[in-house]
Amino acid sequence: MDRFIEILQTLARNGTRTALTALSVAWGIFMLVVLLAAGTGLENALLYQFRDDAVNSIWIWPGQTSRPWRGYRVGRRLQLTNADHDAIAALPGVEQITSRFRVRSDSTITYKDRVGDFDIRSCHPAHQYLEKTQITSGRFLNEDDLAQRRKVVVLGAEVVRHLFRSQDPLGEWVDIGGVAYRVIGTFFDDGGLGELSKVYVPITTAQTAYGGGDRVNAILFTIGDMTVAQSQELATEVRRTLASRHNFDPADLRAVRVRNNLERVQSVTGTMKVIRAFLWLVGLGTIAAGVVGVGNIMLVSVAERTGEIGLRKALGATPARVVFEVLQEAVLLTSVSGYAGLVSGVVAVEILEWSLPANDYMQNPEVDLGVAFTAVGVLVVAGLAAGIIPAWRAAHIDAAHAIREGA
């Protein structure tokens, strides 16, 4: 307590200078916290697009050939079929697989006197894993539904709300494009309104009922815990399989479109790493400027107090004690002002988060505990660093000389 008062007395002697230095340290920490929180927000926003899909998945859509191949002309439209689905399913490494067949978009869905226009998605049972569909009541589609081409349907929460209000939809019958389906389940999805407005029916039923034949519009599958390299290899393998089945150049990237989510997540994470490192660099640089300021003020303060320090040494202050006192002063100055910066940074981030309109670039900026602790650690180290040179100077003051020169 005694020492604390003593340090405050010395700091208070140069109030303005101390305050300005403290401000620069606080500003450094404030910037670090805000920058890192913004980085987290950016990362959240970038990863948001993967929120409701299995990250370890590969999606395939048919395209149009862009290269001539073995006598086939350019610009040929490809059509994927159930056979392609089976061929891909047979590839090693493919886990859960589903196709999608798109029911005509003018299909309306009717329950009694209520009519809604919702997206009808026909698929395999494995679709549940690819879209991370969360069943809230009843069940999702199963193999028997497909084998028997049952007219059953699973409704998204938004569909239920629109058609059934608060009524329990399970077991009720709805009409889709003139065909009656029994409701077997309802679901929730993190993908937002769009995903909640979906209706799932067995792909076999849809192909039969709406003239799909064996055609499919997309094939989606998960790949387990593969590395990115392995997933890229598998994607190439899929492309090669389809190339030989449909007679197109395996190097023709437009013939089928392949989206490797694992690769995309990795690239986002990779980008974020660089951004994060950059933000740390900027933040630490700002703190470093503050620390240099502290070191500077301490140097000036030691120089101004040469006489006093000399006197203290004459009266019995050991060199270690002198070093300790100067370091204490530096650490107190940096940690108190840094703490103020930390707190105001956290407050600023909270305000930012609270006032931020929904957007694609910044979501839930936040200060995680790890960052806060790191910042505090950085502070203490910075304080010590700032004090080292002045403390060394102070310890080497020649008492006899300093006293003679006067205070």
Binding site: D2, R13, L311, K313, G316, A317, P319, A320, R321, I403
Partner: protein, 248 residues
């Protein structure tokens, strides 16, 4: 008059030289000196006589090259900075020409400063600081900052600070150099009283009339002791009781 007891300060063949342009320049040349407890001694000399260097050596603020310096029976030679600081703290009291009070500390805090380096608790520091302030008749100024005190008062506070750790030796470096003559005599009186109370006081000065007020003058010339003489006790501006003389 000098007791046969071990001297408080004992120099034997003490020498010191500075390196000037690569050559040694002797400043103190084989000094021998004994100062006993209760002595009130002045060291005189012109600038360049080695007076300041001797003061630094005596004050454990500087090293010497050869010979010995015993302070209170302890050999002070080749001390580490840490050890020197500890010895200064326990055995020496300093009084400076420019007072050297810390401007943002009040009188009693300044007086108590040496005690903080002995890890004495604040309450105890206050008690002891007040006791010595009482001794120099400044107890009523205990809460005043140095800026609020007159020169004489400042020097009395400084003397109190030199007394507070009950040191073996008090070193006063031109203690009256910044004071008018009336105040100077009061300060010398105070130092004399301190010596009369049994403390050993060494005053370094270049002012003959100040030196004449002590009981022994050691005259330093060109690094050697040119003269060492006792001065008979004489009338004081504030007459002391003769009992102090009788006690010897």
């Amino acid at each position: 008059m000098r007791s046969m007891a071990e001297p408080v300060l004992q120099l034997r063949a003490l020498s010191k030289a500075y390196q000037v342009g690569g050559r040694p320049l002797p400043v103190l040349k084989s000094l021998d000196l004994d100062v006993h407890q209760g002595e009130f001694t002045s060291i005189m000399g012109s600038s360049g006589s080695g007076k300041s260097t001797l003061l630094n050596v005596l004050g454990l603020l500087d090293r010497y090259d050869s010979g010995t310096y015993h302070l209170g029976g302890v050999l002070a030679k080749d001390l580490s900075e840490r050890r020197a600081a500890q010895l200064r703290n326990r055995m020496l009291g300093f009084v400076f020409q420019a007072f050297h009070l810390i401007p943002y500390k009040n009188a009693w805090e300044n007086v108590a400063l040496p005690l903080t380096y002995q890890r004495v608790h604040r309450k105890e520091r206050y008690r002891r600081a007040m006791a010595v302030l009482e001794r120099v008749e400044l107890a009523d100024r205990a809460d005043h900052l140095p800026g609020e005190l007159s020169g004489g008062q400042k020097q009395r506070v400084a003397i109190a600070r030199a007394l507070v750790s009950e040191p073996t030796l008090i070193l006063a470096d031109e203690p009256t150099g910044a004071l008018d003559s009336a105040t100077s005599h009061l300060i010398i009186d105070l130092l004399e009283e301190v010596a009369d109370e049994g403390r050993t006081v060494v005053v370094v000065t270049h002012e003959p009339d100040i030196a004449e007020r002590t009981r022994r003058i050691v005259r330093l010339h060109d690094g050697v002791i040119a003269d060492d003489r006792l001065i008979p006790r004489r009338e004081r501006s504030t007459p002391p009781v003769d009992a102090t003389e009788a006690a010897r």
